[in-house]
Amino acid sequence: MTTQVADVEDGHENEHGPATGITRWLFTTNHKDIGTMYLIFSLVMLFIGGSMAFVIRAELFQPGLQLVEPGFFNQMVTMHGLIMVFGAVMPAFVGLANWMIPLMIGAPDMALPRLNNLSFWILPFAFSMMMGTLFMDGGGPNFGWTFYAPLSTTYAPPSVTFFIFAIHMMGASSIMGAINVVVTIVNMRAPGMTYMKMPMFCWTWLITAFLLIAVMPVLAGVVTMMLMDIHFGTSFFDAGGGGDPVLFQHVFWFFGHPEVYIMILPSFGVVSEVIPTFARKKLFGYHSMVYAIIAIAVLSFVVWAHHMFTVGMPLAGELFFMYTTMLIAVPTGVKIFNWVSTMFRGSLTFETPMLYSIAFVILFTIGGLSGIMLALAPVDFVYHDTYFVVAHFHYVLVPGAIFGIFAAVYYWLPKWSGKMYDESLGKFHFWVSFIGLNLTFFPMHFVGLAGMPRRIPDYPLQFADFNMIVSIGAFMFGTSQLIFVYVLIKTLRSGEKAPQRPWEGAEGLEWTVPSPAPYHTFATPPKVD
């Protein structure tokens, strides 16, 4: 794997070239190397988490238990969620941040390069430990990625302690990454680049980083409380000792809700770069876009209990969380309208990054609209914990986070590697993914409304037909990611040489350096006016 990446960087001379061999990757403090490692790590995790989804969908292909036992099914559901959230999406964004933020703000590197190295190298250990739990006595975590107590404390398999430790490590890594982003953006912008001239991607990451710094400690707190309950005789989440299982959910979702914005804001940033480029027009409403992200981030702290409408909150609580949640639709709407206006009366072309961005806007809007439906507490009494919710959050996360990442990779790959990807293959990847995705997640709305609970290994017969379609879609979507890998390999091996600015409409400092970007860029800061 390393050799493959090595030729991304090969083929250019530099005063201080990278070290050779494995030490380059182990000891590197270069933002481009670290970005590359993050991206590859996340791709590997995408496939691991995806193969767990394969197990889930294969078991659900038909009613009855065919392949796995319910206990193992629960472990797959849990691991799939944890790996996709913490292993695939978040590291991919940090990888993009590492590669692009210094290039976009004209900085020579990230502000804290050694911290950067550490925050990456924690991850492989954290995830090895977490996946190692699958082979332990009693199996791995089987309580869902939301790990509600007391299922995850008193009733958990013994491996839960390792799970807690792994979460602590991931959290530490995320916090370090986030601090690095904040420090870099605040201190290292090129002269003349005021905040309001900063590329959208940097803005979204700046806000994301603040969210991370605010909520990862809360996650650490909640798993620590679990650890205390399990091993040290406390009763935070045990009514028998004066605690409350619902407290767990409040603390978890106080982390969890901002977390879902952490997984979408950087994608907002990506499509805000890509759409203007391929519409050959500036982003419409830059200022309101910035204010909208800030508004979303602030609101994300006061909506958490909309995940908990059925726990028996007092009426006032239900009303408060229903109203605040509905309010989030406003800034989100502003963003969508601005993207559409950016396309309106532009001069559009549809290269792969643009296709992914357009799909992002459409499918994210669908997910956002089902979000408004879910926000209504009385109706959520029916939707809650059904496949309707599964459909909703996969619509905002897969075409949201993941398509945003794909758009980013296709958009900046020429800059990273100095080679162009094969446009027809890229489009092929897009269309197969797009069809597979909708085949997978759209029918989930129907089974959910018809009454299928989530996280069940077997289901009543009336859900059989749709589940079969969903599984076929999932196999298609999963397999289509092999095309992505093929595109990447083909680009690196035999892609045509990419010019400095491969996209006609692209603007920004990253296009002022050669392709591939030299190992060290912007040693003298550029001037922005």
Binding site: F143, D238, P245, G312, L315, L319, F344, D385, I456, Y459
Partner: protein, 372 residues
């Protein structure tokens, strides 16, 4: 399979009307006033969402078609308009306010639990429900009856696959019923779509909800909160009957209880106990300890060859009676009748190669129950 392919092709051909008549694709309107209100709210928001998407996607597709570079479109360089931004901040707020009124009203209705006619305590257990009619001396467990042959595809699945139980919850129509939800172990959620009622059952806490059923019928639901291994196998079945039938049913429960008491005084033979014990075991214990007694170590211990099943009977009785708090092993003392308790303990001591040879008589269990 063939049929699935046919249906799939219909779906792919996008003939929603045909497909919709065959498949359930929407929420049920249910059989209570609240469920109807919730359904109407759901449809209202759904249509609003459809209108919004038609507008947004309409503009997008229009631009994608007309403003393509390949058609010679030139970019118009406009990119800032405070007026427009304010407009599309205000418009969504207005739409939200329109939704907010019916949503608040419906929510208030669901929170009205005062003045109920019947109170029922619903307790979640790993993995079954217990219903206690408060003030009626009626109290029973409701357990999945789908045979494991159907689950493991060795027999054809019946139409109520995974949605059938031994003892349904019998309720009268047109009476205000208040449920009090709690749990014995982890969090479960009691959900019946036809009542549009879903509430978490939380250990150590009590949640309440009420409902008034308008039509007699059988309504089925499932546990909605991941509660461990057999979360998918703890359904809910409600049998809604007229008031007269309900009163008769309550009486019947009382006579059944007396019958069970006299059965326990009978002198049971070893064979009778073993046969009965196997039934009880497969219904109540095999989910964790497995049909062949091998368990799923380390979480669920094996009973075949276990020190307790082969040791002094007092310890065996103790764990089955009192359970072990903080584990899946719940206290069966009040869950099983004296006959069932005697039979299952006898069975565990003499099945799957266990050969203690002693038997426990229902009459003795009755004495212990009295003693506690």
């Amino acid at each position: 399979m063939l049929q699935n392919v046919r249906v799939l092709s219909i779906f792919l051909a996008l003939f929603p009307t045909i497909a919709w008549s065959e498949w359930e694709v929407n929420m049920t309107r249910g059989v209570t006033d609240t469920s109807a209100a919730i359904y109407d709210l759901h449809m209202l928001v759904f249509y609003i969402c459809v209108v919004i998407s038609v507008i947004v996607f309409g503009v997008m597709f229009w631009s994608m078609y007309h403003h393509r570079k390949s058609k010679g479109a030139k970019a118009h360089l406009f990119y800032e308009s405070t007026k427009i931004e304010i407009l599309w901040t205000i418009l969504p707020i207005i739409v939200l306010i329109i939704i907010l009124f019916p949503a608040t009203k419906t929510l208030l209705e669901t929170y009205d639990t005062a003045d109920s006619d019947i109170d029922i305590q619903v307790t979640g257990y790993q993995w079954k429900w217990r219903y206690k009619y408060i003030g009626q001396d009626v109290d029973f467990f409701s357990v999945l009856t789908t045979p494991s042959d159907e689950i493991y595809n060795k027999a054809e699945k019946n139409p109520n696959y995974l949605l059938e139980v031994d003892n349904p919850l019998v309720l009268p129509i047109n009476k205000k019923i208040r449920f009090l939800f709690t749990s014995n172990d982890v969090i479960h959620a009691w959900w019946v779509p036809a009542l549009a009622l879903k509430k978490d059952a939380i250990p150590g806490f009590i949640n309440e909800s009420s409902t008034t059923i308008n039509e007699p019928g059988i309504y089925r639901g499932q546990c909605a909160e991941l509660c461990g291994k057999d979360h998918g196998f703890m359904p809910i079945v409600i049998k809604a009957v007229t008031e007269v039938e309900y009163a008769a049913w309550i009486d019947e429960q009382k006579t059944l209880k007396e019958k069970a008491a006299s059965a326990s005084q009978k002198d049971w033979s070893m064979d009778e106990l073993m046969a009965k014990g196997e039934q009880v075991y497969n219904k109540n214990c095999s989910a964790c300890h497995q049909p062949t007694g091998v368990g799923l170590p380390p979480v669920f211990p094996a009973l075949a060859g276990s020190a307790i099943a082969l040791g002094p009977i007092e310890d065996h009785i103790d764990i089955v009676f009192n359970g072990k708090s903080g584990t899946g092993m719940s206290a069966y003392g009040e869950q099983l009748s004296a006959v069932d308790m005697a039979a299952v303990i006898t069975y565990e001591r003499n099945a799957w190669g266990n050969d203690v040879g002693d038997k426990l008589l229902p009459a003795d269990v009755e004495k212990m129950k009295g003693g506690k």
